[in-house]
Each structure stands twice: as C-alpha cells, then as structure tokens.
C-alpha cells in the first residue's frame, strides 16, 4: 500500500505531494523535511530503499528532483521503483522535459489531476501512458 507520494527538490521545497492516509498538515511538512534529509544523505552507491520509522521509503533522483514514495511492507519495492520511473516518463511525455525544468508552474494543477487519475487510491492503475487524462 502506498502511503504517500512526494516530489521534492534538493532545497526541500515540495513540488507535488499526495497522501493516501490522513496526516495532519504540520506533520506533513515535518515528514517531508525529514524524508528529503534522509534522501540527500545517501550516496550514489547505496540502495534506494530506506527503512524509515515503520514503513519504507523508495526514492529516485532525477537531476534536482527527488521522487519519494512511502510504502508499507506489502508492496514489491522494485515494482514501485519502476512505477516512479514510469510516472516520470508520463509527465515527461505530457509536459515535456520534466526533469530539466522541474516543471513549470501552470502545469502543476494539470499534473496533480493527472496524477490522481494515474494512481487512484494507493494503487497504480496504468502503465499505458497514452491514456492519461
């Protein structure tokens, strides 16, 4: 089960956040800050799965952007790793050059809508990126 999905840049600013469990607002910012701290402290040859509190973080770095997904133990970590990449490719296709530009402002809304369509309630719906709404 995916607990949350974050896109955070290196400075710690959240670009996208989607929580699938209720977490209070001030706790969210703390969580995001801690998560990015963990991810930044990892070196390149360490594995992408971090055990954090009672769940796992899976992160992937794309230039200056970190995509972090929090999962519980029922998920296949590697599949989620692939999912992250898949999503970024979708965004790439749709908004062009996501990684380079950390995407532009007006795309933020569209992107959140599409993300909600992409993964409905903790599950990944599709990999077929032509059909994204």
């Amino acid at each position: 089960m995916i607990k949350f999905f974050l896109m955070v840049n290196k400075q710690g600013q959240t670009r996208l956040s989607r929580y699938y469990e209720h977490i209070e607002i001030h706790k969210r910012t703390m969580l995001e800050a801690e998560v990015i701290k963990h991810c930044l402290s990892r070196s390149k040859d360490q594995c992408s799965f971090i055990e954090y509190k009672d769940f796992k973080l899976i992160y992937r770095q794309y230039a200056a952007l970190f995509v972090v997904v929090g999962i519980n133990e029922t998920e296949n970590e590697m599949a989620v790793y692939e999912l992250i990449h898949n999503f970024v490719e979708v965004l790439d296709k749709y908004f062009s050059r996501v990684r380079k530009r950390e995407y532009r402002a007006e795309d933020a809304v569209k992107q959140r809508c599409s993300f909600s369509a992409y993964s409905l309630g903790q599950h990944c719906i599709y990999s077929n990126y032509y059909l994204v709404n």
Binding site: C47, F49, Y81, E82, A105, V109, S116, A117, H123, Y126
Partner: protein
C-alpha cells in the same frame, strides 16, 4: 458599495511569486496576503474566478498552509456545470475533505448525479473522488451506482469503477457480495487498464474474506484464467502500448503474481495449477533491467508462499542467490529481505549462500548491512559457529552504533547456543564486552555472570582477563559490572596467580583494591556499577589476607555517601565488620554453581562449602528410613537454598531488637538488600523462597530462646553443642546453632559436619563459619541447621563428622537424642 476587487492572479503567477521568496518568513507573508485576497473573493461569491482561487488554495495547502476555508467552495465548484470547475472542485474535495469534516456529506448528491452524467470524463471524476475519500455512508448510498458502472462496456469507466469498488469494500465490507456477479466477466477484457484494476479488486476481495477466497478458487476457476493472461503477457511479442524496457506490462504481471500467491497459499490444487507458469516466468524473464528483476522478485515471493514443489523452491532460492551477486544495491537488498523470510523453512538451501551473505556485512549501505546481520544470525549453527563469529565480531567492531546493541545481543545468544568450548565462549563474551561494552543490554550482565559462575574451571582465567580489561579503561558499564563481580568472587585466584590457560599475571591485593576503588570514585560509573564495586570490595575482605583494614576503611567511608543505595550497603557491611564478624566468612563465601532454570521449578543446587566447591551434604541412609537425598537443600522442594549471598540483615541496624523476629519470618519477602549482583543470580533459579528470611545468619537474641542448649557430641577432644531457637511466626521451624570446639593440642582441619533426620522432618544446613577448629578451645566453628518439623514429632538426629587431626583423617557417626522438648513441641 464595496469596490470590485481586481481580478485575482493566476496560479502560475502565484507560484512564480512564491518561488522568488528567499526566506521562509517572506514566503509566509506572501501566502498570507494571497489567502486574505482569496477569502474576500470567496465572500463575494464570485463565480468566474472561484476555480482559480481554489486552485491557488490547493497549491498553498500542498506547501503546508491551512486551507480549510476552501472546503465549501469546492462543493460549489462541484455543483457547477463547467468541466473545468468540476475538475478543480473534485480535486479540492479529494485533497481537503475527508470523513472528519461533516461537509463532505453534502457531496453525496452531486456525486450521484455526476455518476450518471452523459460525459464519461465527468463520471470518471466522480468515481475518482468517491474512490479516494468516500466515507462509509457515502459508499453505502452510492454502491449501487458503482456496481452498475462496473458492468458497462466502456473500459475507461470500468477500470475506475473497479478501483472505486475496492474503496467501497474497504469502507463497508458487508457490501462485498454485491460486487460478486460483476466480477465474473472482468478478466475477459482485453484492455490492460481494466485487467489491472480487476485484479486489484479480486485481490482485495480474497484478502478480506476467506469465503470469497474459497469461492474464487473453486467456482470461478480463477487460477486458470490468471495463468492464461500471464502466459499471454509473456509470450506475446512487442506491444508498444504496454512495453516497459522490453517487458510487456510488468505492473500487471506483478499484480497477477500477487493474486496467484493469495490463491495458492495453503491450497494444493491451486498451487499445482500454477507451478508451470511460475517456472516459466522465472526462467524466461530478462534480468538485465530492473523491471525484469522486479518480476522475478515477485515470482520468488509467490513460490515461497504457496505449496510449491521442491524443484521450484530450489529455483527460487537460486534466483535469490543470483540477486545477491548482482552489483545493484536494490537487488541485493531485496534478496536479503526475501532470504530472511525463507531461512526458517529452507534453511539448508540458504546456507549455501552463506559466504555471499557474510560479504554483504561489509557493504556500505546501512539497510543492506542490517539485513545481512539478521540473516547471518539466523544462519549460525554448530558447524559454522567459529567462522561466523569471527566475521560477526569484526562487524561489531566496525559497524554503526545503532547496530551494536542488536549485534551484541545476537552474538550472546548464538554463543550460548553453539559454543564449542567454554573457553571460546568466555573469550567471545570478553571480546564483545571490550569492543561494544557500553551497548550491551542490561539484562545481559546477570546472564553473563551466571555463565561465568558455571564454568568452574575457567574462573581464574576469566577473572584475570577481566582484570586486564578494566585496568586500562573502566568506562564501559556492563564490562565493569561483570568485572567487579568476578573480582569480588575470585579475587583470591587472581592474586595467587593460578591461571592455567594463559600467563598468570602478578597482581597484589592493593592493586586490585586500587582498581575497584577507582571504579567507585569515577564519575563515569553508574550507580549500579558502584554498587557492584562496593560489594566486590566487601567480598574480598574474606578472600584477601593483608588488606582487610583498608577494606574496612573504604566501606566505612561510603557509610555517609549521598547515594542511598551505596550508603545502605556500606552501613550494613560496616555492621558486619563490627558486630557480626564471626559470620562474615560464611556470608561472603564463594557463590555456588547455579543451574539455569527457566521455570520456577525445583532446583538442584550444589551447595558449596568454602574453598572446596563441591561439598555435598549427604545424609546417611539410616535404618529408620531417614531422609535420603544427596542434596541437603531440597527443603520443601522449593528452595534453592542458595542463601549465602552476601545478604545483610535487612532490618537497618537502627532497630536490632526486632530484627530477630523479622529474620525468622519464613514467608518474608525480605529483599536481598538491593545487591543486584546476588539478586539476579539466585533469582534466575529461585522461586519464592520460604526461608528467605532465615537466609542470613539470624540474630539470636537470646530473648527468643529460653530453650536449654545441649551437648550433642563429645569425643576425642571434639565437642559439639547445640543451641536452639524457635521462630515466633512459624512454630514448625527450629533453628539449631552448633558450636564445635577442640580441646586437643592440635588443630582439626577440613572439618565437615553432616546431619540426617527422620522422614517427617526436613533439614537445611547452612555453611559453617570455617573448616578449621583451632586447638585448645581457642575458637569454634559455628554452623546453622534449620529443621522443619510440621508434625511436631520428637526431634532425633544422626550426625556424621569428618576431619583431619594429627595428620590422619578421622570420621565418626553419632546419634543425638537428647533434644529438649521445647525444641520440637
């Protein structure tokens, strides 16, 4: 009239502005300003720009600022007819609303209407929102609509409806049956999106309800269908729509494998049906990219979980072994995790990969190290324990602090189970104590002490090594505690240089006391450690010969210590020196070997007697059926009888008068005077003591007595007197103190007194004060015997005496019949 506000800025402007902020405070300011603008705009009920304002609000919410005042606006947007409005409105609802807010119920009607909308996108939005945040009431109301949509032919809607159904089932499990008919045809779809979500729905149903699971296994023939789909996925050629790095729809494959896992668990038929496809997936999947490995990982998990045949299992473990050798950290991590799960069931297969696993201990990555450590501990067995321990000790040296405690505990456990020899065991423990001494858990200390006590032949070696270890550094508390305890117990061995296993070192008594005193004084020592040290010093007063005065001085200093625990001990030890000096040797003698008992069952404790560790107090098999048994301490089958810990009369010395009564209180729960050294040790083996209170040499205030003493034996210059005391609280107990004196001109050495009583009695002998009776009546040996006489029969006793006198061994038997009636009536 209020002036019309200027058009609110667009979202992208807002984002640009916020990004220019250089500090947190600046950002907060901007956001607050914008929030105020938005709020006034809402108040004006402006339809045109509502959508834009809510979008901005959502962005600010994402950054972490409160946005609850936008909730009603979201509802208004949902109710609007424009698609763009609806879209933002639903998004806002998903992000801002949940069951906790009452407002969400107002949405129900809107969603209902939208579920029946003519445009599929609107329907899709509604399904999305319901599936994200629908409460149980909403789900109950709208489940019918969802079910209807599940049956449509529109695949776009079908897949969303399936996921929405998952959410409905989670919220309202009773509605599960409603969706059952709709699931019949779900897997016949071509569209992968629908397939994927249907598998999710089926998984959810099977996980939640065992009835459903059984139903799907038998009636629906789900397994063959899934197998067919999976086969098509693998065998079909390149399909651009679903391809991810050369593999066709890996996400669907993983999902199907997971469902197969649930179906096959504990079910032979299903497991058999899927054996082939699992083998096929395992062998055909490309492993060069991460995608392939993800699928293999899921396959391995499935194989291990169902009732697969052994060939398949071996295949799975080999795949994991291959993963371990892969350079990619993620894959190694995943392999270690799975191996940990399977090590219980397929131990031998995993053993084959032991060397690779041990190599992973040296990996840089923290998660991998942790997994490797856990797995290594699981793999230790009698054959490989030496090698594994070497690696693990090396790991303990170099690992991060967060691992040290777990690693130390793991090593102790493994060493206990598989130690090839006592010396090795003790060496290992020493190594752990010296490398990770401060991370060792508190409960390890008493366990270690017990272990050391039980390795009788290693005492000298152990104490020497421990002494050397704390000479340099006495900051690691568990190490210091164990070392102090051992020095206290075996200090005489240390000073006499008796070590056989290694070069004995020359240590003087003063040096030993120096180190113990430094521990006492040091700021680094915890209070508990100081307690250990003080008790150790006290014990040494009977083992050392020339430094007793120094010990007395040290002990008296601490009588005014601020630490209450230390103070109490010091005061009581002082009392021991002053008033009860004759009892001191008996009280402070060597601890006996302890049996490790996990239950509070009867223990068999060999009572020691001074330097000879194994003087078992026997009773002769008498003709009148006296009490048999080689252990004198089976009093009432309950006692460990190991009461010779340095237990101090627990009554503080300010009230000596009442101490007698208290001490004779059989059922007293007199705490063993906070001497944690002695407390954990005997308590491992002992159930509630009955004779707790009598364990210390009782204060025989003669007030309680009034029973005449007798001479039990008088022959060849050896005279033994019995004096009696009865307990006020328990009249069946008689306490006899014997005094043995020697009127000849030569000492009697190695004196041992043994006694037996009739079957209806029970007897306990405590240790004598010494084993030498000096000549010319210049001193006596004192020993305490406790007799339990529940039936109040006449007391009779047979005694056996053995001693060395004038160079020859003497032995005598006698019967004592002249007990005064007051001693047993």
């Amino acid at each position: 009239m209020a002036q019309r506000m200027p058009a609110p800025i667009r979202l992208r402007e807002l984002i640009r502005t916020i990004r220019t902020a250089r500090t947190q405070a600046e950002e907060r300011e901007m956001i607050q300003k914008e929030c105020a603008a938005i709020r006034s705009s809402f108040r004006e009920e402006d339809n045109t720009y509502r959508c834009r304002n809510v979008a901005k609000l959502l962005y600010m919410h994402m950054l972490g600022y409160p946005a609850h005042f936008g909730q009603l606006e979201c509802l208004k947007l949902i109710a609007s007819q424009k698609f763009t409005d609806k879209r933002i409105g639903y998004l806002g609802a998903m992000l801002l609303l949940d069951e906790r807010q009452d407002v969400h119920l107002l949405m129900t009607n809107c969603i209902k209407n939208d579920l029946n909308h003519s445009t599929q996108y609107v329907q899709g939005l509604a399904l999305c929102t319901l599936g994200c945040m629908g409460s149980s009431e909403m789900c109950r109301d709208l489940a019918g609509e969802v079910e209807k949509l599940l049956k449509t032919s529109n695949s776009y809607l079908r897949k969303k409806a399936a996921l929405c159904a998952v959410h409905v089932i989670r919220k309202v499990p009773e509605l599960m049956e409603m969706f059952l008919p709709a699931t019949k045809n779900l897997l016949n779809e071509k569209n992968h999106g629908v397939l994927h979500t249907s598998v999710v729905l089926l998984t959810e149903m099977c996980e939640r309800s065992p009835d459903m699971l059984a139903h799907f296994r038998k009636n629906e023939k789900l397994v063959p269908q899934l197998v067919r789909i999976l086969k098509n996925l693998i065998m079909s050629g390149y399909s651009p729509e679903h391809d991810v790095s050369g593999i066709s729809d890996p996400f669907l494959q993983v999902r199907i494998l997971r469902l197969l896992r649930i179906l096959g668990r504990n079910d032979d038929d299903s497991s058999e049906a899927m054996n082939d496809i699992l083998a096929q997936v395992a062998t055909n999947t490309e492993t060069s990219k991460n995608v392939g490995n993800a699928i293999l990982y899921e396959t391995v998990l499935t194989i291990m979980d169902i009732k697969s045949e052994s060939g398949l299992r071996v295949l799975a473990i080999n795949i994991l072994g291959r993963f371990l050798l892969n350079n990619d950290k993620n894959i190694r991590y995943v392999a270690l995790t799975s191996l940990l799960k399977t090590v219980q069931t397929d131990h031998n297969a995993v053993q084959r990969h032991r060397s690779t696993i041990v190599d992973c201990l040296k990996d840089l990555d923290v998660s991998i190290k942790r997994r490797a450590m856990e797995l290594s501990f699981a793999l230790v067995n009698g054959n490989n324990v030496r090698g594994m321990m070497k690696e693990l000790l090396y790991f303990l040296d170099s690992c991060e602090p967060e691992f040290k405690a777990d690693c130390a505990s793991g090593i102790f456990l493994a060493a206990e189970k598989y130690a090839p020899s006592k010396r090795w065991h003790i060496d290992t423990i020493m190594r752990v104590l010296t490398t990770a001494g401060s991370y060792v858990r508190d409960d390890a200390v008493p366990n270690l002490i017990q272990l050391i006590t039980n390795s009788v032949e290693m005492h000298a070696y152990t104490v020497q090594r421990l002494y050397k270890a704390i000479l340099g550094d006495y900051s690691q508390q568990p190490l210091v505690q164990v070392a102090s305890w051992c020095i206290g117990e075996y200090g005489d061995l240390l000073v006499s240089g008796q070590c056989e296993e290694e070069e004995p070192i020359q240590v003087t008594e003063d040096e030993v006391l120096d180190i113990l005193e430094s521990v006492l004084i040091s700021n680094m020592s915890a209070s508990v450690t100081r307690g250990y040290a003080l008790t150790a010093i006290m014990k040494l007063s009977t083992r050392f010969t020339c430094t007793v005065n120094r010990i007395k001085k040290v002990v008296s200093i601490y009588g005014s210590s601020i630490d209450v625990e230390l103070q109490q001990r010091a005061v009581e030890y002082n009392a021991l020196f002053k008033k009860y000096d004759h009892m001191r040797p008996a009280l402070l003698e060597r601890m006996p070997v302890m049996e490790k008992v996990t239950t509070n069952g009867p223990t068999e404790i060999v009572q020691t007697n001074g330097e000879t560790e194994t003087a078992v107090l026997e009773t002769k098999p008498p003709h009148s059926g006296l009490q048999p048994g080689s252990q004198a301490n089976d009093l009432l089958d309950l006692l460990g009888g190991n009461d010779i810990t340095p237990v101090i009369p627990t009554a503080p010395t300010s009230k000596p008068a009442s101490a007698g009564g208290e001490l004779l209180d059989l059922l007293g729960d007199l705490n063993l005077t906070g001497s944690p050294v002695s407390a954990p040790a005997p308590q491992i083996s002992q159930p509630p003591f009955l004779l707790d209170g009598l364990s210390s040499q009782p204060l025989f205030n003669d007030i309680a007595a009034g029973i005449p003493s007798i001479t039990a034996y008088n022959k060849n210059g050896l005279k033994i007197d019995f004096s009696f005391e009865r307990s006020n609280t328990n009249p069946s107990v008689t306490v006899i103190t014997i005094q043995a004196s020697n009127s000849t001109e030569l000492d009697m050495t190695d004196f041992v007194f043994q006694a037996a009583v009739p079957k209806t009695f029970q007897l306990q002998l405590l240790s004598p004060s010494s084993s030498v009776i000096p000549a010319f009546n210049s001193g006596t040996i004192t020993q305490v015997i406790k007799v339990l006489n529940p039936q109040k029969q006449q007391l009779r006793m047979r005694i056996k005496l053995t001693y060395n006198h004038k160079g020859s061994a003497m032995q005598d038997l006698a019967e004592v019949n002249n007990f005064p009636p007051q001693s047993w009536q």
